[in-house]
Every structure is written in structure tokens, then in C-alpha cells.
Symmetry: C2
């Protein structure tokens, strides 16, 4: 007979805190950029824990580490995971939670002497953040076969060194197997929300329906530099004014379109940027996101039409450049439904919502059924040393993860 | 008997071209920042010309040079003038035209052997541009008693040196008399428009009614930095969005208010200025100008009310700081009318208009009847090496100046 496996919330929090000591920043928070010495120290710690828990660890060519727990049968494992690299001023939860919760699931099963039918895998993927090497989600992209290994290895980072030489330097250029179709039975990632919705609305668990599609556009507006005193309004070609109209329109678009549409003008630079000179040039970005691809395309169409029309009326020229474009990703509906149901069985309040940020799970979703579980981020703070999630919520999320893994591995 | 004095346009253009050789920039244009060696060379040249034309030159404590042509009677002179310092990348006309046209008026009177009843004065005022030392219009301010000489002399420039030491170094710390009420009979300044209106509308002469009042406000908007993907629109405190609404409102204000109202958001800086982060801070400026003080105050009231309301609705805080505030200056209506009438007598097309830029004439207007004559700036280009006014227009402006001086000195 086996006991009913249970998450030990204190053990989970303890592991998160210990991991956060590698790359800890003086005033709080963590800096563990991908493939740095700090990342190596974090990796070594996690691999040590994996082995202590009895997992068989393999490292593949891009440095992803996968710890396998044998099942009663062979075959593709049920995988849980995330990443342990951070942004330059990160916190202890983003990514790390998914990996530490995976270890906690294994520890709980070990304690309860449960052997699942299918094997389990706990994975951490290389360079999810993309702070040092582009693109982000590099490890999972290579794992899922969406990015050639050789191209990823040749990537030059912000410090001029390559992924290849850094993997070799820290000893994480392995020869373990990559993933791909048929290699993983299902993938589940527990993550902090990185947004304010769950806390604001009083929910403990987010059943993540998918990841918003992203459209990033850079606009360069070219007007004419003129004296702010001597040039009548009707003779102006004010790039700054057109930029302002576009930013106001972006807000209107987000109000009018459905599907969790968000729109943000986060970067906007005026030239020459002087109090008494009409701006002759603006470089600005528009970030559009929607869970629905058709609506995202509608948002783009309406935005671009407004830009052309408003710029033409002012005699300002427009150059447009796509900085990024990803279609929305829908997680496996059956898995999303199980996250919701399990949370309710555990008497945890639960809300279906999309993810506004990118995650390894969206890459894995291309090769196996995948889903995500969110727990609340206090004040929605993310990519910031102030990042915080309550220990009880961390444990609640891990409990949902454990139940789902047990179902999937049964 | 005397001949009818006439402007020699070629001689005027020749002097402008010769003066432009001092501080000439390699690719064209002029850099003759106030009180530099280049400024000294330009000053020496102009003083030489003054003396060659028979003027008695005095230099006052702030370096203004005044050349007097005796009249049949003593008493306050009719003064024409402007400045010969330039911005860092200036052209040959801004300021210089008013002084060279003054010399041309004297030359024309000399050729025609005309002695006016009142004395004439040709002046150039120190540091009108304010590019090296603040405030601009420094020389005329001291001359008119609006800025204490000692304070002006103590001014430290962008290179860390004082006005006092530079005046001594270039030999222009004089002891000539300053101006003030009763010291000047009338002041007339010929200047390039520095804006596009005359050329656009096909006029040769501008009868300048006054100088617009100026209100410069700096706004610092403080919101909250948030993830552009994970933060729903309703939970945002987007300083960038509020800034855009303000810039669009400024354009609306300019459309709705009369009195040659212009409104410009020329400087606007977002923080952290990243494509996927909601801006938590914006520093921006609003430049409002109107020829009518009451309307300028209305523009300020409406702008500030809009800023408060829009920021409050978004949960964004506002800090407001005045960077500059000048009331409009009206030139002597009788003189403006004479500029208009003389232009018509000379069969030159003429338009009444305000000046959107500041000029020495607005300072002199506090101590004597003053007015300005504008000639067209091609494409409105100003403070730029591409600055250009057609020779025929330079001569036309000088001809109007000559007729007005003859009337005033009669």
C-alpha cells in the first residue's frame, strides 16, 4: 500500500530560496543570465537535487537538462518543467517555480512510494528569457525541433560570445536526446502569472487557455523640423503629433476589440526632442496581442490603416517594420479543463485566462499536449526584483500540478 | 540739392557675404557664437565698416556697439539694428541682415548727401541667440535696463567661462552709454521671418505686429511600469498613453483658439522606453504661444485642466514646472501701419503678422516706439545652414527700412 502523495510547501519554498542564492543581487532579487557562471551554479544545484531524488539526468546539445523518473512501463514521459535562467533584475519565481515544483512532485511521489505507470520527466530549458542571447525560449525551440541546433549554438550574445562557447565553458554541452513529436506524452508548466489578474480578482489558480499572439511593429515617422513659434499649425509636418495620435488610437483599438486584446506603445523617441522644435522624426513601437489570430489580424489592419491615413493628412512619411509576429497558441483543451476541475476538487478558486507572456509550454505545445498552471503574482510585478508570490499559492499551484501529473501518468 | 536716396541691393548682399566669411562652416553656413574669436572678427569688420561710413562708434559695458550718424539736430537717434552672433549652425541672414541693412541705409544717405534732422544709429546687440550664454537677447536686455549689467557679466556659459572675461578677451568691454527711456527716438529692425508664412502666401514684406507670448511647461507624468502582455488595459497606469492624449489635445487647442495660437509638444521622453513595457514615466514639454495674453492664459488653463483630468482617469500623477513665460509684445501701432503703407507705396506685397521668435526689438519696445520688418525665409528654414532669403527680398526689406527711417528722422 502507498500513502496519498502530498506537496510539502515548506520544502518547495526552501528549494526556491536556496536556488535564489545563486546570482543573488545585493538588494534582493536574482541575476542569473543564461549560460553565465551564476547559471552554471544554479544548474549544478538543480542537477544535484535531481540526482538526490533518484532521477536519471541527461543534458542535450543546447544544454537543456531532463531528469527521468522511471515508470512501471517505458515510453514517453509526462514532463513538467520550465527554465532557471532569469532576466538581469529578476526574482526567485519566474521559471524556477516550474522546475522546483517538478522536483517537489517527485519528492512527494518518492515519500509516498508511488510509482506511476508512465515515466516522469523534470526539465529545465536553456535561455528562456532571451536577455543574453536571442531568441528567447531558445532551449525549448531546439528541443521541439523548431530551431536548428547549429543555428542556436552559433548565436552571438550581448557580450560578443557564442552560445556554443558558453555551453562548453560551463560544461553543459551534452549529447542527450532532443524532444520532438512522440517523445513526450504531455507537458505541464507551473508558472507565476506575471500579471495582476488573479490577485485583482481574488483567484488562486489560473487555468491557462493559451498564449496570446504577439505583433510588434516599429514605425518610423518622418516629418519636417520647424520652429515651434514661427510655423503656423496648418504648415506643419509634425511627426510627434502623428505619433501621439497613433498611441491614442492603440488604446481605442484595445477597448473596441475583444479576445483579451491589449495594445501598448512602450517605446517612442522624438528627434530632435527639443521644446521649441517641431519633431521631424519619431521612432515608435506598437505591441498588439490577442488570443484570437483573426482578431489580432484585424487589430493590425485597423492600426496600419489609421497610421497611413493620419500620417498622410499631416504630410508625414511612414516606414513600417515587423519586429516580432507570433500566432496565438491554444493549450490542449482537455488539459485546461482538467486544471480547472482539479483546482475545484481541491477547493481552490480558479479562473481561465490567457498568458500574455511567452513560455516554454507554447513551444512544447507543437509536439505534445501541453498546458500551464498560473499562480498569482503580487501586484502583477514581473521581471523585477520585487517579484513575489505567496508561499501558500506556490504550494497550491504545486498541488494542482501533482494531481494533474498523477492523472496523466496513470 | 540732394538725390533721392536708394538702396543698393548688390552692396547689401556683398556685405552680408563678407560678414559670413567670419565663422564660415566648411559645408556652408556660419558659426559665430557670442563673444568667441569668430564673433570678435565679425564685430571688428562691422565696426570698421561703421567708421568707413562716418559713424561714431561707442561700445557699452555688455559689448553692444552703436554707430551714430549726426543729424541736423541733437537728441535721441532713430535706431536700426539687430545682432551679429549666430547659433552653432546658423546662416548669413538671421540678425546680420538688420545690421547690414542699417549700414546700407547709411551708405544710401551718404551717397545721396542726405542729412536727416534727427541723428541715426546703427546698433548690434550682444548675444541675441543665447546659444552660449543664457538668457538670449542679453545685450538688448542690458541696454534697455531690463537686466542688470553686473548680473549679465557674471553669466557663466556652456564652456564654463563668463561673459565678463570673454568681453575683456575680445576687447569689447566698453564704457559707452546704455539706452533706456528717452535715449532712443524709435527702433526699427529688419529681419528674416524664420517661418514659412510670407513665402507660402506670396508676400514680400511682413509688417510685424508684435511678438507672441510664450508659455513653456514641462510635465512629468508618473504611472506604473507593467508587462505589455500580461496587464489588462483596465489595470494600467500608462504614463505614455496620458502623454499621447496631451499631445493630441495640444493640437486641438491650437485649432480652437484664435490669436495665431500655436502649440507644440517637441520633447517627450518615455521610461523605460521598451517595446513590451508600459511606460511608468514621461517627461514632456508643451510650448504654447499666442499674440494675445488673455488667450494664452486660456490656453494654459485648458491645457492644465485636461492634463489633470486625463492623468487622474488613468491613475497617473503629474508634476508641472514652468520653463519660460513671456507676455506678448505689441509693436507701436503707428509704426506697424507705416511699414504696411510704405510697402504698398513701393508696390511690394505686404502682410501683417506676428513674430513667433524672440527679437531685440521686443526688448527695445519697452523703452521706445519699436517695430520690425520681415522678409521671406525660403521654406521657413531657420537656425540652419540652409537658411536663405532671395537677394531681391533683402533689398526690398532694406528699401522699406530706408523709407521708414527717413520718415522717423525727418
Amino acid at each position: 500500500m502507498t500513502n496519498d502523495p502530498r506537496i510539502d510547501g515548506e520544502r518547495l519554498s526552501r528549494r526556491l530560496a536556496e536556488l535564489a542564492r545563486h546570482g543573488a543581487l545585493p538588494g534582493g532579487g536574482v541575476c542569473r543570465l543564461a549560460l553565465t557562471d551564476e547559471d552554471k551554479a544554479g544548474r549544478d544545484q538543480v542537477v544535484r537535487w535531481m540526482r538526490e531524488l533518484g532521477l536519471t539526468v541527461t543534458v542535450d546539445g543546447i544544454g537543456n537538462a531532463v531528469g527521468i523518473r522511471k515508470g512501471q512501463e517505458d515510453g514517453p514521459p509526462v514532463m513538467v518543467g520550465s527554465h532557471i535562467d532569469t532576466v538581469r533584475t529578476g526574482g526567485p519565481y519566474d521559471g524556477n517555480l516550474g522546475v522546483m515544483a517538478g522536483l517537489e512532485v517527485v519528492a512527494a511521489l518518492n515519500d509516498a512510494k508511488v510509482v506511476t505507470r508512465r515515466p516522469l520527466a523534470v526539465a529545465f530549458f536553456t535561455n528562456e528569457e532571451g536577455s543574453r542571447f536571442q531568441p528567447d525560449m531558445m532551449g525549448s525551440l531546439v528541443y521541439a525541433g523548431a530551431l536548428p541546433l547549429e543555428r542556436a549554438l552559433a548565436t552571438v550574445g550581448i557580450d560578443g560570445t557564442t552560445v556554443r562557447e558558453n555551453l562548453a565553458r560551463i560544461g553543459y554541452a551534452g549529447d542527450g536526446p532532443l524532444g520532438g513529436p512522440g517523445k513526450v506524452h504531455a507537458y505541464v508548466e507551473l508558472h507565476v502569472e506575471q500579471g495582476p489578474v488573479l490577485e485583482e480578482e481574488g483567484f488562486t489558480i489560473g487555468a491557462v487557455e493559451g498564449v496570446q499572439g504577439i505583433s510588434w511593429t516599429e514605425l518610423t515617422l518622418t516629418g519636417q523640423s520647424n520652429h515651434a513659434g514661427t510655423t503656423p499649425m496648418r504648415l506643419r509636418h509634425d511627426a510627434g503629433y502623428v505619433a501621439a495620435e497613433i498611441a491614442v488610437f492603440a488604446r481605442r483599438l484595445a477597448r473596441e476589440l475583444g479576445g483579451h486584446q491589449v495594445a501598448t506603445v512602450g517605446a517612442l523617441t522624438l528627434f530632435p526632442n527639443l521644446v521649441n522644435v517641431v519633431a521631424n522624426r519619431v521612432v515608435m513601437t506598437v505591441d498588439l496581442r490577442n488570443t484570437d489570430e483573426a482578431r489580432l489580424q484585424e487589430a493590425e489592419r485597423r492600426l496600419f490603416a489609421f497610421v497611413e491615413e493620419t500620417a498622410a493628412a499631416e504630410g508625414v512619411k511612414v516606414a513600417r517594420r515587423s519586429l516580432a509576429r507570433f500566432k496565438p497558441v491554444a493549450f490542449a483543451p482537455a488539459l485546461v479543463a482538467r486544471v480547472e476541475a482539479i483546482a475545484k476538487e481541491l477547493r481552490l478558486s480558479v479562473k481561465r485566462l490567457p498568458s500574455g507572456a511567452g513560455h516554454d509550454a507554447q513551444i512544447l505545445a507543437a509536439v505534445c499536449p501541453a498546458c500551464m498552471i498560473f499562480v498569482p503574482s503580487v501586484k502583477g510585478v514581473s521581471h523585477n526584483v520585487e517579484e513575489f508570490t505567496k508561499p501558500a499559492d506556490l504550494a497550491a499551484g504545486a498541488e494542482v500540478l501533482l494531481r494533474l501529473v498523477l492523472e496523466l501518468a496513470r
